[in-house]
């Protein structure tokens, strides 16, 4: 079976830039970067990035496909938008980082076990289940993502905070039974399904 990753490699051969322009959200902006590095200096988690945004942009142009897509750099984005407002060329850097992370994730070559990748996946799956986020089941899923024993440890660690929130009526133990959601479940799910279908067809993920 050919994976989406192998198909993409065959299709774009040596032009990773073209691949990014075609398949990554806002990827058509990558060639506009002039390498000033203001984004790197503006990032609150700047020193956690193995390759700051301007470096990723240059690596894309240099065809370093594997190094870019397997990097955990873009997973450090907190969505603070500092880089966007300071970029002298007005690149939507935050969105390109999100787009790169999503593309690597969908190709299956993003780093395994990367905590933000896992958290983000749990979050999305939680919200599309009923159309609204269930904060209780999301927190529990996070605590227990590394197994039962670790889950109990995590839950005990955050016990005081959790009980405080319950007491302040900002966390509802009853949400375990379902919690908030949209009424038009069928329509909501059909819409998400359709959107996913179109995106998959466009970006080469269609099975």
């Amino acid at each position: 079976m050919t994976t989406a990753n192998q198909t993409a490699i065959a299709k774009y051969k040596n032009s990773f830039l073209k691949e990014v322009e075609a398949n990554v959200e806002e990827g058509h902006w990558v060639r506009m970067c002039m390498q000033c590095g203001v984004c790197a200096g503006s990032c609150p988690l700047g020193n956690a990035w193995a390759h700051p945004p301007q470096e990723l942009f240059m690596m894309i142009r240099a065809g370093k496909r594997e190094e870019v897509l397997a990097s955990d750099s873009m997973w450090m984005c907190t969505s603070c938008y500092n880089c966007i407002v300071r970029c002298p060329r007005k690149l939507p850097i935050t969105h390109i980082m999100h787009g790169l992370a999503n593309y690597a994730h969908r190709l299956g070559i993003a780093p395994k076990g990367q905590p933000t990748r896992e958290t983000a996946t749990l979050f999305w799956n939680n919200l599309i289940k009923k159309g609204r986020v269930n904060e209780l089941t999301f927190s529990l899923a996070l605590y227990f993502k590394d197994g039962f024993v670790q889950g109990i440890k995590n839950a005990l660690n955050m016990q005081a905070v959790g009980l405080g929130l319950v007491k302040a009526r900002r966390l509802n133990p009853m949400e375990i039974l379902g919690g908030h959601g949209v009424k038009d479940q069928a329509g909501f799910k059909a819409m998400i399904e359709k959107a996913r279908q179109i995106e998959d067809r466009k970006k080469g993920f269609a099975k």
Binding site: H105, T119, R170, K194
Partner: protein, 298 residues
């Protein structure tokens, strides 16, 4: 003053017994005092927030926000949408901008919406509640209902990221927005100079990268103390939750003694307008805002 009406998008965190339920409580009380009517958009859904991108991709995310617009356009035609959550507002604005500038994305998004029997028309602007307050009402109108000025309380106005960037509030600078300080002063409080007002709290990475986020939060709280603030005030539900909730974690790990209440602007305004502590949602604070409760009791 002419009565103002909006289509209201509260967002997941503002629902009953969710992490920002006290935000909603105080917004309702505040709007009541200001004669602003907010009608909830029927059957609204989550905006995808800032980490929806990884699994959600682009089009499913566009569809999420477009569905909210379509519902507002169908059920509350002619009304502007107002959001109280920074991420909700940002997502709606981003999606509107993209759909209004790309025929391809508009067509594809509407194809997805059609599966739910809906259509995005692009006729509804989206505003943040802060914009409604300072642009549609104005500081003078916000001052009029003040019956209990918050005299003697020093606030650090923590604006955070997503109400400030990339769109922000018109006329404000990204590096040093002043509207929150002005709101504090409008209700009689003192806004201290505060050098971490636009620092990121870590956002959703508070869950996945707790150490890195807690370093951010420590800076935000420490600077408030350094500048003599007694409370932090913010317009963002995730800023509020992160900066309040993790203080005890930071104390536990790093031996600090943080106990800085973190409030919403709407809670300050509700108290200043004569609302009770309950109406202001002060019972929802993990770190009690005692001085504010005392003013509310007077």
């Amino acid at each position: 003053m002419a009565k103002k009406e909006y289509a209201f998008y509260p967002g997941c965190s503002s629902q009953s017994k969710a992490s920002a339920s006290n935000y909603l409580t105080s917004v309702n009380a505040m709007c009541d005092k200001l004669d602003v009517t907010i009608t909830e958009i029927p059957d609204w859904n989550c905006c995808g927030a800032s980490i929806g991108y990884a699994e959600g991709g682009e089009l499913p995310r566009l569809a999420l926000s477009a569905r909210n617009f379509a519902l507002a356009e169908t059920h509350l035609p002619g009304k502007e949408m107002v959001a109280t959550c920074a991420a909700c507002w940002l997502a709606q604005r981003e999606v509107k901008e993209r759909l209004d500038h790309s025929e391809v994305l508009l067509k594809e998004t509407n194809e997805a919406l059609a599966a739910a029997g809906l259509q995005y028309q692009g006729t509804t602007p989206v505003r943040h509640m802060v914009e409604v307050l300072i642009e549609d009402l104005g500081y003078d109108a916000l001052k009029q209902p003040v019956v209990k000025p918050l005299e003697g309380i020093k606030f650090a106005g923590y604006v955070g990221c997503q109400t400030n960037r990339p769109f922000g509030i018109a006329g404000e600078s990204f590096e040093n927005p002043v509207y929150l300080d002005k709101l504090v002063e409008t209700v009689g409080g003192e806004a201290v100079p505060y050098d971490q007002k636009v620092t990121c709290c870590g956002g959703a990475l508070a869950f996945s990268e707790p150490e890195k986020s807690q370093k951010q939060i420590r800076d935000i709280v420490e600077s408030a103390y350094d500048h003599g603030a007694e409370m932090i005030v913010t317009p963002c539900p995730l800023c509020q939750a992160n900066v309040e909730i993790y203080q005890s974690e930071i104390n536990k790990k790093q031996g600090t003694k943080f106990s800085m209440p973190v409030l919403y602007y709407s809670q300050l305004m509700t108290v200043a307008y004569g609302g009770s502590a309950k109406e202001a949602g002060l019972d929802g604070q993990l770190i009690k805002a005692t001085k504010l409760e005392e003013i509310a009791k007077k």
